[in-house]
C-alpha cells in the first residue's frame, strides 16, 4: 500500500496535470489508505473527494481528460466498479478511436481486486475479464509492492486508459524493498518470478504467490511466470517459457468460464502446440459467485490444487 501511495505522490509531483479522484480518497485518504496525505500535499483540486457515483467518477474523468487533466480514478472496491463499466465500454475505450486517434484519454483506474481477506459479499471479486475484454483499455495486475508502484506509474504516464487492479492480499503483504523515487515497470512485460525447467505455472496478481508456493512443494522444477500486464500481453515471455518446459498450468482466481486463463490457453494452442507435451490445464475459481467468506478458501485456488494439476500434467 505504501508503494501505491508513493507512486501517486511521485507522479503528482512530477506532472501537475495528474489528479486523483474517488470516494473517500481525500480527507480519509482512501479506505485502504492508498491516497493518504495527498490532500494535504496537493490540495482539494488535485485530490478530490467525489460524490458516491462510479459512473459519474469515470464519466467526469473523460471530460477532465478532454480539458487536459490526467485523472487517476479510484474505485473503492472492484465489485463497486461495475457501475463504471457503462462509461468504460461506451466511451473510455472508444473515444480515442472515435477521434481517429487524434485525442488522448490518459485515464488511470485503480481498484483493489480479489479475495483472501474475509470480507462481506461483493468485496472479493476478480473482474479483470470485463476490463481486458474492452477494446481500448489496458490492464495490469501487480503481484509485488515494487510492481504495484512501477506499473501504476507507467499507467499514469500512458497515453491510453489503463486499469490497475491491486490484489487486496498484497495490501497486507509484508513490506518489501520498493525502489525510491521514480520507478517504472513498463506495461506489456511479464516477469519470470522463478526459473524452472519441467512445467510453467502462469499466474498474475494474488495467484503468483500461490503458484510460487506450489513450485516450492513440487518435486519437479517449476517455472513461475507472473503475467503482470494482461493487455497488452507479453506473448514472447510466455511462449519462451512454455517452449522450454513443454507444460503449462494457468492459475486464475476469477471464475473459470471465459476467464483470462482461457485467453492464455488459446494463445498456447495457437502458437505453442508443437512445444506442448500435454494439455494446458487451468486451476481457477468456480462458475459461482465468490462465496461467503467462511468457505472462501474452497473457492480460491490453493497451492495444493496447483500441485495436483502440475503433477497430473507431469505424468501425462
Amino acid at each position: 500500500m505504501e508503494a501505491v501511495n508513493d507512486a501517486l505522490l511521485v507522479e503528482m509531483e512530477r506532472d501537475d496535470n495528474v489528479m486523483v479522484m474517488g470516494e473517500d480518497v481525500g480527507r480519509a485518504g482512501g479506505v485502504f489508505r492508498a491516497t493518504a496525505g495527498l490532500l494535504d500535499r496537493f490540495g482539494p483540486d488535485r485530490c478530490v473527494d467525489t460524490p458516491l457515483a462510479e459512473a459519474g467518477i469515470l464519466g467526469t474523468a473523460v471530460g477532465l481528460a478532454m480539458a487536459g487533466w490526467r485523472p487517476v480514478c479510484e474505485m473503492q472496491y472492484e465489485s463497486f466498479s461495475y457501475p463504471c463499466l457503462d462509461q468504460l465500454i461506451c466511451h473510455v475505450g472508444r473515444y480515442r478511436w472515435r477521434t481517429n486517434g487524434k485525442m488522448e484519454f490518459p485515464i488511470t483506474i485503480r481498484m483493489p481486486t480479489g479475495g483472501g481477506v474475509k470480507a462481506p459479499e461483493l468485496h472479493e471479486d476478480s473482474p479483470e475479464t470485463y476490463y481486458v475484454h474492452t477494446p481500448g483499455i489496458k490492464v495490469a495486475i501487480p503481484s509485488t509492492p515494487a510492481d504495484a508502484k512501477g506499473l501504476l506509474a507507467a499507467a499514469i504516464r500512458s497515453p491510453d486508459p489503463v486499469v490497475i487492479m491491486e490484489p487486496k492480499v498484497l495490501y497486507r503483504s509484508p513490506r518489501e524493498e520498493v525502489p525510491d523515487g521514480e520507478h517504472l515497470v513498463p506495461l506489456g512485460q511479464a516477469r519470470i518470478a522463478r526459473e524452472g525447467d519441467d512445467v510453467t505455472l502462469i499466474a498474475y496478481g494474488g495467484m503468483v504467490a500461490v503458484a510460487e508456493q506450489a513450485a516450492d512443494e513440487l518435486e519437479a522444477s517449476a517455472e513461475v511466470v507472473d503475467v503482470r500486464t494482461l493487455k497488452p500481453l507479453d506473448e514472447e515471455t510466455l511462449l519462451a517459457s512454455v517452449a522450454k518446459t513443454g507444460r503449462a498450468v494457468i492459475v486464475q482466481e476469477a471464475p473459470r468460464v471465459a476467464g483470462f486463463g482461457a485467453e492464455i490457453a488459446a494463445l498456447l494452442a495457437e502458437k505453442a502446440i508443437l512445444d506442448l507435451r500435454g494439455p494446458v490445464l487451468r486451476v481457477t475459481g468456480y462458475d459461482a459467485p465468490f462465496p461467503f467468506w467462511s468457505i472462501e478458501d474452497e473457492h480460491i485456488p490453493s497451492a495444493a490444487r496447483v500441485v495436483e494439476a502440475a503433477e497430473k500434467l507431469l505424468s501425462f
Partner: protein, 337 residues
C-alpha cells in the same frame, strides 16, 4: 433553492404571433445577431431536410431527424463563445456546422465514414454521443476541469427528455452542482423518447423541476422560440462564467418528425397534434417575426436559403468523393501505443 418553474402556458415568450400575442425583444441583440440566428436555423433546417432526402436516395445511412429542433440548437448556440465546448447527442449531430464544421464532415459521420470522426479540439465540439445521457458527465468533467485550471470556457450538454431517466444524467447533474461546474445542461423536451411519451418517463410535473433536487436552478423555456431559448441560455452561461455553477434548461417542444429515418411514428403519435405543431414550427415563426420587424424580405430569404442549399450540395458531393476508408482503420487507433 426555492424556485417556481413556469407551467407550459406561462413560459417566457419573445416571439408573438403578430395578432393577439405581441412580439417582445431580447436586450442586447443587434439586427445582425437576429439575422445570424436566422441564418443558423436555415442552415440546420436545410441540413436536416436534405439529409432525409439523401437517406431516401441511399446516400447516407440511418439518420436522426431534428426537424423542429433548430430553434433550440441555434438559440442556445448563439449564447456561447468560441472557447465553450459543445457535447451533442445524435439529435444535435449537425450543430458543429454553426462552428464552421463542413457539412461534408457530418454527412461522412452519417455515411459511416471515418472522415466524420472529427477532432473535438478543432471545433470545440465533442463527438456525437449515441448512448443516451452518457455524455452529460463528460460535459460536466470538462467544465469542471476548465475551472480547476483557471481557464475560461464552459460546456453545454444536449440531451432529450428520455435522457433525464438515465443514471448518467443524474450522476452528471449531481457532480455538476457539487463541483459548481460551469456547465449548461440543455434538455430538449420534444415529448417523446422514440415511442415513449414524457408522461411515461416521469411523474414530475416538469423536467426543469428536477434541478431543485440537485440544488441548481431549473429553467423552462419554449423550445420553438429561438429568442427565448437564446435568452435563457445566455443567462445560464452568465451564471456559469460568474462561478455560480450549472443550470438545467428544459426547452419544450413537440417532435413533429419520426425519431429517425428507420422509425414509423404512425403507431403511437397524435397526428392532429403533429399537424398543429408543424403549422407553428420554429423557423416559420421566427421568419414571420423578422418580417414583422422589417429585417427580412423575400430576397434575403431566398439568398440565405440558397446559400444553405449550395453548402449542402457541395457537402454531399465532397462526402461522396471521399476515398474509400482504409481497411487498416479497423485495427488502428484503439491504442496510442
Amino acid at each position: 433553492m426555492a424556485q417556481v418553474v413556469p407551467a407550459e402556458g406561462d413560459m417566457r415568450r419573445v416571439i408573438g404571433d403578430g395578432e393577439a400575442q405581441p412580439d417582445g425583444e431580447v436586450e442586447g441583440l443587434t439586427d445582425q445577431d437576429l439575422l445570424e440566428l436566422y441564418r443558423a436555423m436555415v442552415l440546420l433546417r436545410t441540413y436536416d431536410e436534405r439529409s432525409v432526402v439523401y437517406h431516401r436516395q441511399g446516400r447516407i445511412g440511418t439518420y436522426a431527424i431534428f426537424w423542429g429542433h433548430e430553434a433550440m440548437q441555434a438559440g442556445s448556440f448563439h449564447a456561447l463563445d468560441r472557447e465553450d465546448w459543445i457535447f451533442p447527442s445524435y439529435r444535435e449531430s449537425a450543430i458543429g456546422l454553426l462552428r464552421g464544421m463542413p457539412p461534408e464532415t457530418v454527412l461522412a459521420w452519417w455515411r459511416g465514414h471515418p472522415a466524420g470522426w472529427w477532432d473535438p479540439r478543432e471545433y470545440g465540439v465533442a463527438s456525437i454521443a449515441v448512448p443516451i445521457a452518457t455524455h452529460v458527465p463528460h460535459a460536466v468533467g470538462f467544465a469542471w476541469g476548465k475551472k480547476l485550471r483557471g481557464e475560461n470556457g464552459c460546456a453545454i450538454a444536449y440531451f432529450g427528455d428520455g435522457a433525464t431517466s438515465e443514471g448518467a444524467f443524474h450522476e452528471g447533474a449531481n457532480f455538476a452542482a457539487v463541483m459548481r461546474a460551469p456547465v449548461v445542461l440543455f434538455c430538449n423536451n420534444n415529448g417523446w423518447a422514440i415511442s415513449t411519451p414524457v408522461s411515461a418517463q416521469t411523474r414530475a410535473a416538469t423536467l426543469a423541476g428536477k434541478a431543485a433536487g440537485y440544488g441548481m436552478p431549473g429553467v423552462r423555456v419554449d423550445g420553438g422560440d429561438v429568442l427565448a431559448v437564446f435568452e435563457a441560455t445566455r443567462a445560464a452561461v452568465a451564471r456559469a462564467r460568474a462561478g455560480e455553477g450549472p443550470t438545467l434548461i428544459e426547452a419544450v417542444t413537440y417532435r413533429c418528425a419520426p425519431h429517425a429515418t428507420a422509425d414509423d411514428p404512425s403507431a403511437y403519435i397524435d397526428a392532429e397534434r403533429v399537424e398543429a405543431e408543424r403549422a407553428n414550427e420554429c423557423l416559420g415563426r421566427y421568419e414571420r417575426y423578422l418580417r414583422r420587424l422589417g429585417l427580412l424580405g423575400d430576397d434575403l430569404v431566398e439568398s440565405i436559403g440558397g446559400e444553405a442549399k449550395e453548402a449542402m450540395r457541395a457537402g454531399i458531393a465532397a462526402a461522396e468523393a471521399l476515398p474509400e476508408p482504409d481497411p487498416d482503420l479497423v485495427t488502428r487507433n484503439a491504442y496510442a501505443e
